[in-house]
């Protein structure tokens, strides 16, 4: 077990800042002896007459504060390290890879995956025969999160107004919109920006909203159209 120079600043705190004091004379600060925490010689820390708080002696208060501080710091470390362990399990590396290398891998991976998704989202601009929703959280220039939302479904007159309503209710601003119609079907590809305070959860909100929009569309009368099951099957 590791034993650092614990309590030496408390010692200084109790005995007065660098002033040689009764009971500690000549002892190096890190010299440990039993009962160190319970010996009392603190009357000289506060100016005379201030230290007379009988219920909570200053050295006890100081000790408690130090203990809290120590434990809080330990919790913080554990929190950080648990996340690092999670990342270790998420990436191709064993448990012995050191923190810096692990984080380097993480950086590389996040970059790589970002490229991938932006490449992938270049595909599929024409409407397909199958209903589709994809919401990808992409880049985040100047701090705000950018989504790429793609929606492919039956075309209907009130689709665009509904879409606009959804985006407005989710406080998303549309940066770009591409639309393509073919044979009664429509594909919308939207680039939308979320506010700075939006979390990554907004992706799911948008996804659910679009899903309900699509369900609304498919339940309408207009969708009694001949449906080809899978575009790929007729290639």
């Amino acid at each position: 077990m590791h034993q650092p120079a614990e309590n030496q600043d408390l010692y200084r705190f109790i005995t007065g800042n660098g002033v040689i004091n009764v009971g500690t004379y000549g002892f190096p600060a890190n010299c440990e002896f039993p009962g160190m925490q319970s010996f009392s010689c603190s009357s000289s820390y506060y100016p005379l007459g201030v230290s007379g708080l009988a219920d909570t002696p200053p050295q006890d208060r100081a000790l408690a504060a130090l203990k809290n501080h120590k434990e809080a710091e330990k919790r913080r470390r554990e929190r950080i390290n648990s996340h690092l362990d999670k990342l270790r399990s998420l990436l191709p590396c064993n448990s012995k890879t050191d923190k810096a290398s692990l984080l380097a891998k993480v950086v590389q991976r996040v970059k790589e995956l970002k490229e991938q998704t932006s490449e992938i989202t270049e595909l599929e601009t024409f409407p397909s025969e199958t209903d589709e929703i994809t919401v990808l959280s992409g880049d985040h220039s100047d701090g705000r999160l950018i989504f790429k939302a793609s929606l492919c479904c039956e075309d209907r007159t009130d689709l665009i107004p509904d879409l606009i309503e959804i985006l407005k209710s989710l406080h998303l601003t549309t940066l770009r919109a591409e639309m393509a119609t073919l044979g009664g079907r429509i594909r919308n590809v939207l680039i939308v920006a979320a506010d700075k305070d939006h979390s990554i959860e907004s992706v799911h909100f948008l996804q659910n909203a679009l899903k309900s929009l699509l369900e609304r569309s498919s339940s309408s009368e207009r969708s009694k159209r001949r449906r080809i099951l899978d575009r790929k099957m007729i290639m």
Copy 2:
């Protein structure tokens, strides 16, 4: 500037472990005074007769070691923090988000992107009219990296042996292979596993190898077939 209780353990080291010594008598260890690092009273640390190394006095060696240690640790901290800053710039968060929250976001993002790519790679099982190569690094169950490699090109008899040769040379083991042929074209979807020691760079090696395979194929006589420029244009 922060000034911790520096050198107090070196002080103890030099003056002897807890033993009251000449020149330091009665001073608390954290009491700072000018020239503390240069005063010499170390002849009592080593047993008598051992400390007579004229070229490298023990306290200098200790000081140098401590200095090195301190600086190395600082470098390590800086390395880790620079990676964290990089991640901060890569994710939708400002520079004031604390380490633990940042890492939580990173974990979430890596997970999310992993799901995305695995979803996306479900698509496109039938051969298309355009030549395509995609290599995606996906999951890594039990520590080893799993790739999904997709190759779509003209069908030819020696394609599969060539493919096997490539995988063997890159020390990749094939877990699953899906193949589909249609109209003289073939799509191969391979799930391959890399060794534990493979880095993420293996993705690019595989990608390049497949690219050369594809070029070999297109330069052969068999590829004088009518080529439709883009599948999407004839939808």
